[in-house]
């Protein structure tokens, strides 16, 4: 009886502690999210923010049958620009995160070794990550500029290219430019998370493997990799979330390029520039759903994997 009372009291106390947090989250996360989901079911425009009418799923998909018998489909789900953005985003996310994970792990392995000036190198490698994205995007935009960019200049001078390339404007190279800058910027973050994982591995396991005479490559795949996997998984999910909603780098480095336009970029375009506020909201909502689906899948698959490990 008294125990139940005590328990209830504890729960009440916990509630009070949680309340400010829940209120803040409701205000800055839940409310905007629900509101933009709501907008996506209306015909709201920038000029009529509070007078939009409920239109159901029309922003996602609607069709009209013409007198001639032809049916016309409209809405985000049949918008080629949207699917182009989806494809761009997914391609960007998978390529960048994969390369960042591999490079990050390699850098972490190097940083985990004992050498002179290790502390300095560890600090130095974080610099790209510490620079604000807008700044580094602008910086790279200049360096990649076709007229006076240093990259073109160097490649040209050593004879690798015969004419200067507009890396960020060219449809064939724009995505690569974005990928390269993102990898340059984010690999340190990956490396740091992996390094934290590596440092959790007890040293004597490696000593045991030396006495057993295990080849270093086998040591990596049999001992190191399984042990950093949990840290790596967390790092990958963080990066994946970031990559799927990438906006700033693309917006600054390759403005208005269809080759790189991502879901975030295109929904902002509709929301603000094209005055299709509801349409942009629908795209934002779809982006939200995709990320939620991805995270759920990842955690679910990851869990299966992890529990397999612990057996």
């Amino acid at each position: 009886m008294q125990q139940a009372e005590l328990q209830a009291q504890r729960i009440r106390a916990a509630m009070w502690f949680l309340l400010p947090m829940i209120a803040a989250l409701a205000f800055v996360a839940a409310y905007p999210l629900l509101r933009s989901i709501y907008f996506s079911f209306t015909d709201t425009t920038l000029t009529s923010l509070y007078t939009g009418q409920w239109v159901g799923f029309d922003n996602y998909l609607n069709w009209r049958t013409l007198p001639s018998g032809r049916t016309i489909y409209r809405g985000t789900l049949v918008d080629p620009a949207w699917w182009n953005a989806v494809w761009n985003t997914v391609r960007f996310a998978f390529v960048s995160v994969s390369i960042e994970a591999i490079l990050g792990l390699m850098v972490a392995l190097v940083l985990n070794a004992n050498f002179h000036g290790r502390g300095l190198v560890r600090a130095a490698i974080l610099i790209p990550w510490a620079i604000p994205t807008i700044v580094s995007a602008k910086m790279w935009a200049w360096m990649l500029n076709d007229q006076f960019g240093i990259v073109n200049d160097m490649l040209f001078n050593i004879g690798l290219i015969s004419e200067k390339i507009a890396w960020t404007a060219n449809v064939d190279t724009a995505m690569w430019a974005v990928l390269m800058v993102d990898i340059w910027k984010t690999t340190p973050f990956m490396a740091l998370l992996c390094l934290a994982g590596l440092q959790m591995i007890p040293r004597d396991v490696y000593e045991a493997s030396k006495i057993d005479g295990v080849h270093p490559i086998k040591v990596f795949f049999k001992i190191t990799l399984p042990l950093v996997k949990p840290a790596l998984m967390v790092a990958i999910i963080f990066r994946m979330l970031d990559a799927l909603r990438i906006f700033d780098l693309v917006y600054v480095l390759t403005p208005n390029s269809a080759a790189t336009k991502t879901m975030s970029v295109i929904s902002r375009e509709n929301l603000i520039e094209f005055d299709k506020f509801a349409y942009g909201s629908a795209q934002s909502t779809l982006l939200f759903l995709m990320i939620a689906l991805f995270v759920t899948l990842y955690i679910w698959l990851g869990k299966v994997d992890l529990s397999g490990d612990k057996q």
Binding site: P202, D204, V205, E207, A208, S209, K210, I211, D212, G213, V214, H215, K218, K222, I223, P226, L227, D309, K310, Q311
Partner: protein, 367 residues
């Protein structure tokens, strides 16, 4: 054939001299203990034997072969680590077989070895578990199993029992001793626990500050310590050191001891040593608790001295008495019956001076 020969091994880390000119040699099949306080260089020496560290100078021979320039895997050793160092992602079976696998032992033979080792250590039921699912004691067994599977020229143990609880530690100690008696493989065993050292070792090397203070059999180390450090480190409670002056009374060399109320003379003729050079000098009189006792027959003809007891600590089999002699606290060990029979103010105690050791307080060396 020698099992292990360490010649002039030194090791420096940067500017610190961690090991200073270590020389040890033991015959094949012997059990060598490296004992000493934390930080004295035991693990470093073991790692040099294993090849995990390189010696700054010196040579290592294992089973008669110079191994100093060989990789750990080519030294024919097996090692048990303090924190076990099991491969976390492999099962117990995988852990035990991994070394065999790497050495390309045929699968059928691997299976046989794993089964034999598992049976020996009674871990057959655990073979399919992962290390995370084992208790400390079980992990310890698996770590031993991994070493035993290899049948090496020498086993290296780095404080293998120090993470176990007291009871398990005593059990495993006995088991390790049994295993060694059965397998007759050379063992080097690092510990900071003097009881483990005394019970397990054929030979003990007592280390301090990177120097071997004394090397010998357990009884040599215990009964004839080279210096005050060894005398104080081995034995629990440790040896009493009483400051005194060497005197001659009626042709007998000995020391005067002053209690709370009594002052008496203790003869040292029974130690059989010639102390004439030290007459009149200030010395340390070293005597172990069990040699100030009530076991009259063990002590010989000496008469009992009534002493005032400050504190009385029953430990079960014996009772420890704390008395004061020459202004220092002295521990004695008597039977619980004696402690109860006599008055605290006049406890009759016999001094077994045959086992006493005198030290030069300036150098700390035994005389």
């Amino acid at each position: 054939m020698n099992g292990l020969k360490i010649t002039n091994v030194s090791k420096t880390f940067g500017k610190t001299n961690v090991l200073k000119d270590i020389n040890v040699e033991i015959a094949d099949g012997k059990f060598l203990i490296l004992v000493g306080p934390s930080g004295c260089g035991k693990s470093t020496l073991l790692n040099i034997i294993a090849g995990l560290e390189t010696a700054t100078t010196g040579r290592i021979e294992i089973a008669g072969e110079d191994v100093i320039s060989r990789d750990p895997k080519d030294r024919n050793i097996a090692m048990v680590f303090q924190s076990y160092a099991l491969y976390p992602t492999m099962t117990v079976r995988g852990n035990i077989a991994f070394g065999l696998n790497i050495r390309k032992v045929p699968k059928a033979e691997q299976q046989q070895i794993v089964d034999r080792v598992a049976k020996m250590l009674r871990i057959e039921d655990l073979l399919d578990r992962k290390p995370a699912q084992l208790s400390g004691g079980q992990r310890q067994r698996v770590a031993m199993g991994r070493a035993l599977a290899r049948d090496p020229a020498i086993f290296l143990f780095d404080e293998p029992l120090s993470n176990l609880d007291a009871k398990l530690r005593v059990d495993m100690r006995t088991e390790i001793k049994e295993l060694h008696q059965r397998m007759k493989t050379t063992v080097v065993y690092v510990t900071h626990d003097q009881v483990e050292a005394m019970t397990l070792g054929d030979y003990i090397a007592v280390m301090k500050d990177g120097i071997i203070q004394q090397f010998g059999t357990p009884s040599e180390i215990y009964n004839h310590p080279n210096n005050m450090f060894v005398a104080g480190f081995m034995g629990s409670p440790s040896m009493n050191f009483i400051p005194c002056q060497l005197t001659e009374v009626g042709g007998e060399v000995g020391v005067y001891l002053q209690g709370h109320t009594t002052r008496f003379f203790v003869r040292l003729s029974q130690t059989g040593k010639d102390y004439s050079r030290w007459l009149g000098k200030n010395l340390m009189f070293g005597i172990r608790p069990e040699h100030i006792t009530d076991y009259a027959e063990q002590v010989g003809a000496q008469e009992a001295i009534p002493c005032k007891v400050d504190i009385l600590e029953p430990t079960g089999p014996d009772t420890l008495l704390f008395i004061t002699l020459n202004k220092v606290k002295v521990v004695c060990r008597v039977t619980p019956e004696t402690a109860l029979q006599h008055s605290i103010d006049k406890m009759p105690l016999y001094f077994n001076t045959a086992k006493a050791v005198l030290f030069d307080p300036a150098s700390g060396l035994a005389i």
